[in-house]
Structures are given as C-alpha cells and as structure tokens.
Symmetry: C2
C-alpha cells in the first residue's frame, strides 16, 4: 500500500504539518509528523482530517427536505412536522428507498462523511403488512451503502407503541412496527451483507418502546452492539416521560439501564443540570443533529456544561435538511453563541481552535457511537480521511489550523476535495464515480414519490 | 427590449405561474401572470425572484472570514473579535480593498444579491493621515461595484469618538475618523461616480458619533438619503447608552431623531417590547445580519413581535462569514425556531410559505433601506431578478412555492442560475465574466495582507 504525505493533518494531538501516513489493509498503520516527503510518497496537497461519522440518518427524509417549510396557521411545530413526514413516508417503497439513499450517501461522501448510522424504522408496507422479503427496505439501505462506498452501521429500529402510555400504533405508524423477535431477526439478516459494516440496535424512543421490551432487545444483542435512541428532543417528550415514569427521560433512562459507551442518546436537548452531568459521565455519546434541530425548533443542547463534565458528542444529519458536516458543526457552535452571547464556545485553552476541537470530538464520538474502530488518524484505526482543498479561495493565506476554521465556518463542503473510506479513495478531485447516475435515479424517484 | 416569460415568479401577491415580464430601460415595465409564452418571448426556465439587497457590508472583512474562530482563554466575545478585526484592517490599502471588494461583489451577484450597501469607514491611512486622493479607499469600492455589475449604495461612515462617553479615538480607530465636513465632502465626491447607484449616510453608532454631530450630518444630506447606523448589537452597547443618555439605544434614537423610512437600524438585537413596537411603527428598516450575529454571538432579534407590529426588515452580510441570501434567511428563521420552539415563525396565514415571505419582505425592505426603487417584480421597479434552477436536484418534484422553500432551506446558492441587475444579465448559467480574474486578484491580495 502507498505511503501518503500531507501538508497539514488533524492528528489526535492537533493540527500538524508535513505528516507521513501509512495505510495498510484499510487501516492506518503509522503516522509521523514533521517528516519530509520521500520519493515514493503519494502527496496529498492540503489539509487532511479524520473522516466524519453521520451517526443519525433517516435516509428517506432527504427527498422531503424543504417540503414542510410552510404553515397557514402560525402554530407549526415538531408534531405537525411529524404528521407531514408520516404522510411522505407512506409513498416510499424499496425501489425509491434505494434511489434516495444511494444519492444521499454519495452526497454524504462528497461532503466528508465516511460513515453513516441509518436509524431504520420504515420496515413494512403501508398499513403494516410485510414486504417479500421482509427485509426489503433495509436491504435497499445496505445496497445504497455498498454502491456509494460509505461505511454503514445499520440500526434496525424497534417501534412498538404509539406513546409512552403504551397505546397502540396508529394507522400510519403500523408501517414502523416490529416485535423484538422480528427485529432481532432483521439484525441477523443484515449481518455480513454487502454494504453493512456494523449492525447496531435502535430503540426508537420511550414513546415507542416500553422499557421492559427495551431490556429484552438489549439482552438479545452482542455486548459490542451500539444502542441508539431518540431522547428528550422536545419538551412534550419530557412531559410524557414525567407522566409515564415519574422521571425526566434522560434521568429515567440512566437510572433504568446500564448506560455505557455503547449508547448514543440522539438529541438529548432537554436536560437539567444533573442529567447533563450524568449523561456526560456515563460514557454515552450525545448524537446532536444541529441543522435538523434548528429546522424543527427543538431547542439548544447544553453544550458548555456537557463538555465541562467530559461529555462525548457526535453529529447526525437526521432529516437531511443539510448534508454537510461543516454546516452541522457551524450550526452547533452558532446556536451556542447566540444563546450564551459569547464566541468560540467549544474552544478551550487546551484546544483553542474551535473547528479543530469540534471536528476532532465529533469524529471520535461518532466512530464510538457507530461501533467503528475509526475517528482518528492514528495507528490501527480505519483509514477514513478527508482532504480539504487549501487552494479554495476562502482558505487563501491560512495555515493549517486556520484553514480548518475557514473550512468549517466559511467554505463548507465546497472545500472537500478527496475522501478515503476504509483505505479506498471514494471521492477524488470532487468526483464520485456514481454521482451522475445516482442523481438521475434520485430525481426520478422523488418526482414519482411526490406526483406518482 | 425583450419580453421574458418565466415558469414561476415571486410577484408582490405571491408565487405565480406562467408570467410574462417586460423590461424596458432597466426597469420592469409590465408583468402578467397565467399568460402563455408568445413566440418572441425569451424563456426563463425555473423560478424567478426579485433581486436581493445586501444592506450592510464591510467588504474588507471578507478576507478575514474564519480567522477569528479560535480563543485560548474561553472568554472570547464581540469585543475581542473587534480587536482582531482592527488588527486586520491595518493591513488594507486601496489596492487590496479593490481586490477584496471586487471578488466579494462577484460572489454576491452569483449568490443572488443585486445591490449592496457598503458601510464604509476605512477612510484613512493607518494612524489617520489622508490618502491621496483622500477618497482612495471609497473609490476602490465604487470601482469594484462598477466592474462586478452590482448596484452600490455607498454609505460613507461618520466616525468621531471612541465611546459614548465622548473619548477620543484610539490609535487603531484613527483610521476611521472623519469630521462631518470631510464626510459630506466624501459623499459629494462619490455622487455620480461610475459604480455608485446611490449615496447614503452612515452614522457609525452611538459609541462613535455624538448625537449633536449626527444631527449636523443629517442636516447636510438630501431629504432622500438613506441613513444607517449600528444599534443595540450587544448588551454592552445598551449599558453604555443607559450610562451616557439615560435611555436604551433604540429608545434614545427614536425619541431624539425624526426616524422614518429613510432609516436603517443595523442589528437592533437588544430591544425591549416598547422599543420593538416603536421601531416597527417608525417605518425604519431593521438591518438584520443573521450569520454575522450568530458568528459574533450577538443575540436573537425579536422577530415575531416586530413582524406583528408591522416592522420592515432587510438582510446584510456584514462580516461576510457567509455570502448567500438564502443562508441569511435560513439562519434568521432557525434562530427564531430554536428560541421559540416552534416552526415557520415568519409564516403567517396571509403568507404561509416561510421562504416566500422572508424573501419578499427582505427584498422590499432592503431596497427601501438602500434608497433604490427596487425589491419587487412590478411595473416601474428596477429590473433586478434572480432565476432559481428548478433542475437543481434538491428542487426535484417541487412546485413554485415549494421550490422557493427548498431553495432557501436546502439548496442555497448552488441553485442560483441567472442574475439580472438593472436590466442586464450579470450572471448567466452560473457564470460571471469577471470571476476567474477577480478570484485570482483576491487570492493574491489576501495572501499579501496576511503574510506581506
């Protein structure tokens, strides 16, 4: 395998210059900084970052992005958005699922995401009958990942009740329903499939899974399986948990389950100070989805307290209203700045460059949340990396750490030039081999969904 | 002049289809909707919007975008950012001012901005001595506008004191200093220059201009001149105004001056309920700079109350951390959603599509703030328009109003295809004739500024 030499690299210890990177068998096998290039080194011009994980995706929602930005009554909120999403989801079938997910995953790779966690609950036909084969919708996701080259952690999702009070699924939700047994069967069917790098377990939320069934599902998966769930995205959820369990949702979950590094709490927006500290100390990852949370009006995550308590976080594109890790990190930081009325909220004296800290933490936390041995450019980790084009006009005159700031806060995905996933260049000179065909199929599928 | 025919157009009454648009002498001379195209009509495929005004620009700051995203002490705020900006401003000269502004204005046009208000205070050499000619820095802005094709409202800025207590300018601020007489001279010198469409008056802020001198300057300009000032961007400014004038800044300004439609209050972030209502009723425009306000950690504008009171607003790129009207409008709406925990905050029952309302109001308010007869696709207005590419993948399957939502919230400036300014196509098929040359000169100037 070649040895690469890059001008600037975000290593675990910070941005370093003149770095040699050995890749062998899809892993980084060595790194050395302040090292001159040798004759046979493959030169990577620019700034190299560890690949980013997109820990929370509902791929089908990409095709409805922007369709819920209107409201005739002045009362639109998360719950009315959810109704629009349910109606849209009715129209998806395995073919359109594949077309939408495949283009989305190509877009993700081009934007610097090297892995994705698909929180997959679109299991059944509309009304609840099984597909033949029953895993058809999940298989479409795996095929999309395989063809696009992105590393997929498949998160089949348990979805049983219509609310924390245990009520039955409504007509539209029947499409999402899966017993614990059926879900474990789906997990087994996904393992080892082309395109599936890792299999996790998603428990939709306290609304959709009674805690005894959460426990049963957890008992049925390997000790290494990632466990994800939506938690405390909306104040309404906090009220529902208080009514059903007598505790706030994060508090209840932390006191009911042995939460550890396998867990990812998606959103975790509405926490009190005790929950914030306890979640940080549990070793779980907070799966933040900043642009979706902004779009849905969820609220602002308590980032400073969480970071001060040593909390780990990751980012997710969720509804895919944006497909750009730089935009997620920028939105995360800006929402903090607006709330706290200060700048560089995520910076610290140990890690003064805001973008470098945000990127490094989200990449590391994301790999942990997806159960991947990745997230850093370091010996033994998966060779997932992103080359930022220092020739981009918004990076003119910047050194390495400044270039990373200007990439995240100014240029965004326009500055992503090359992307390696598991040792293979999936994007080179801004080109992905599948892009044109995937775009056309996405466009056709979207028109069919909306007008068909 | 040709008659244009467009599939979808944002007219004053909303998004309409099959619209014929007559342009004569740089103005719209007629519009007709639900009209089939005639043989000689020039077809514009897609969605046509009124051109957007960028009402608040400090062009030189484009070259430092992203350079202040770090902080070693955890105490970074607006005021420390201002120090970094002062240090950067020291390095600008007329040549680099021209190179930076010219590329920025090309970027603006490509993103759908058809006019810009340059709040120009970089008057003198570092230390305060005059350039020869004294207007050299302002002339660079005019030349940049002329070459790029954007309509410029030049806003020469009065800057006299270092604080609301009347203290003298510090060493770095001496570069900005201008007496009222000198400022009126600069205004006269700018009038009629190539590239200058309108000349206004900027009063930097209550920190930098004692109210009697504001009055003197206002008395020296035409009754039609736009009047802009920074107001209530930071809580610190509110405290300073309370100490110096016994009133909050917006309250003080509204009670001291005959504020009307000529005025634009830039930011106006920190207002109490009475100030919000009074500003809305004054007829002044609030010049909101959402991405800069997010970047600087200023705070969140009271949009629902302001709109409910009939307030007009416009958008500005300010520090140019973003150059995209869609991103400004999205950030404005998202910050509201995060604060109020509901969606489509800017929508109303009369204007249910959020993006349509935001775009229409910002375009109209922006034209008013810049003293331009523009901001709507309507008879007698300047022919400034932007064609959005309905073939963009993120707009697949959308109708006109949905396409506008998906452009603003998902695709952003990637979907801007053609831009007409004053009857002339300045951007066609995403190309601006000056772009390559302007980018190279910008890059060279930026490297010189940073390393020179």
């Amino acid at each position: 395998m070649p040895v690469y030499h890059a001008d600037h690299v975000l290593l675990p210890e910070g941005v370093r210059s003149n770095v040699r990177i050995d890749v062998e068998g899809g892993l980084f096998s060595a790194t050395e900084d302040e090292a001159p290039p040798r004759t046979d080194d493959v030169r990577i011009k620019g700034l190299v970052l560890p690949g980013m994980a997109n820990v929370h995706s509902h791929a089908f929602q990409r095709a409805m992005a922007g369709l819920a930005e209107w409201d005739a009554g002045g009362k639109d909120n998360f719950w009315s958005w959810r109704e629009a999403m349910y109606r849209f989801a009715e129209r998806l079938d395995p073919d359109s699922q594949l077309a939408v997910a495949r283009f989305l995953f190509v877009e993700m790779a081009k934007a610097g995401y090297t892995s994705v966690g698909e929180f997959h609950y679109l299991h059944n036909r509309p009304g609840g009958a099984a597909y033949a084969p029953p895993a058809a919708m999940a298989e479409a996701i795996a095929t999309a990942a395989h063809e696009s080259g992105i590393a997929l952690t498949m998160m089949p999702t348990l979805y049983i009740t219509g609310g924390a009070d245990g009520r039955a699924l409504n007509e539209r939700q029947k499409r999402f329903g899966k017993t614990v047994e059926a879900l474990l069967g789906l997990r087994a069917a996904m393992r080892g499939k082309a395109g599936v790098t890792q299999v996790g377990l998603a428990l939709h939320s306290l609304r959709a899974v009674p805690p005894p069934l959460m426990r049963e599902a957890i008992a049925g998966v390997e000790a290494s399986s990632p466990i994800h769930l939506h938690a405390a995205e909306q104040p309404g959820e906090v009220d529902e948990a208080l009514a059903a369990f007598g505790k706030r949702p994060i508090d209840y979950l932390l006191s009911t389950f042995a939460v550890d590094q396998r867990w990812c709490f998606v959103h975790a927006t509405h926490m009190d100070a005790g929950e914030t500290r306890a979640l940080a100390q549990s070793g779980a990852v907070a799966g933040l989805c900043p642009t979706t949370e902004g779009n849905l009006g969820d609220g602002i995550f308590p980032l400073p307290d969480y970071l001060a308590a040593g909390g780990q976080f990751a980012i997710g594109g969720d509804s895919h209203i944006a497909v750009d890790p730089a935009e997620e990190l920028k939105m995360l930081e800006y929402s903090q700045r607006l709330l706290h009325r200060r700048r560089n909220v995520a910076a610290s004296s140990a890690a003064p460059h805001t973008a470098a800290r945000l990127w490094a933490e989200a990449a590391r936390g994301g790999a942990r949340a997806l159960g991947l041995n990745a997230g850093e450019i370091a010996k033994g980790k998966r060779a997932d990396m992103v080359a930022i084009d220092m020739e981009h006009v918004s990076l003119a005159g910047r050194d390495g750490a400044q270039a990373l700031d200007s990439y995240v806060f100014v240029a965004g995905r326009d500055a992503v030039r090359d992307v390696m996933i598991g040792g293979r260049w999936v994007v080179q000179s801004r080109q992905h081999a599948l892009e044109g065909r995937a775009r056309q199929a996405y466009r056709d599928a979207t028109v069919r969904i909306l007008r068909g």
